[in-house]
Amino acid sequence: MRKYETLVLFSPELNDEERNSALQNLKNVIEREKGQILSVDEWGMRDLAYPVRKMMRGFYVRLEFLLDSLAVQEFERHIRLTENIFKFVTVVLGKPDAVVVEEA
């Protein structure tokens, strides 16, 4: 298990409901892969530095979670499948040994 952070850029055309359901799907993937969501940080609508798919704005959401390193691929696959996600980046937080997961 490692600690990861993913920044997702949603289309500005989505309303709150559609975006939350897309986000919920991603959270479900993490939970299905026996991960743990630590925090969800919504940055809100922001102007982009350059147009993406001809849109000048986008909605950023930052997810922080614990996940098995092999399951991250599966998680990213689901992000790619989700429509209306323009861009994402996943970053490892901390050293691998820094995170100790308690077994229940």
Binding site: D47, A49, Y50, M56
Partner: protein, 87 residues
């Protein structure tokens, strides 16, 4: 020689070493933008004075920020240039 005495450049220092609380993070385009030119190029560390260790991570953070449209790759494609041209 006289001109050497007149011009003594200020000693440069690594801003990330001097202030450990200054975050070096792709999520902070406001800080990263101080280390790129207005055309979007990463400024060499001989000019900014950043140490080798921090310059290395600075480049990766800038590139991540570009990926996520937090910083622009080139000024011609940047939003603020486009806004001006459409006006």
């Amino acid at each position: 020689m006289s001109f050497k005495k007149k011009f003594t450049p200020k000693k440069k220092f690594c801003r990330f070493c001097a202030n450990t609380e200054l975050p070096l993070d792709y999520k902070r385009p406001d800080i990263l933008s101080e280390f790129i030119t207005d055309r979007g190029k990463i400024i060499a560390r001989r000019i900014t004075g950043t140490c080798a260790k921090h310059q290395r991570s600075l480049t990766t953070q800038i590139k991540r920020a570009r990926q996520m449209a937090l910083l622009f790759y080139t000024a011609t494609h940047a939003s603020y240039v486009r806004k001006k041209s459409t006006l």
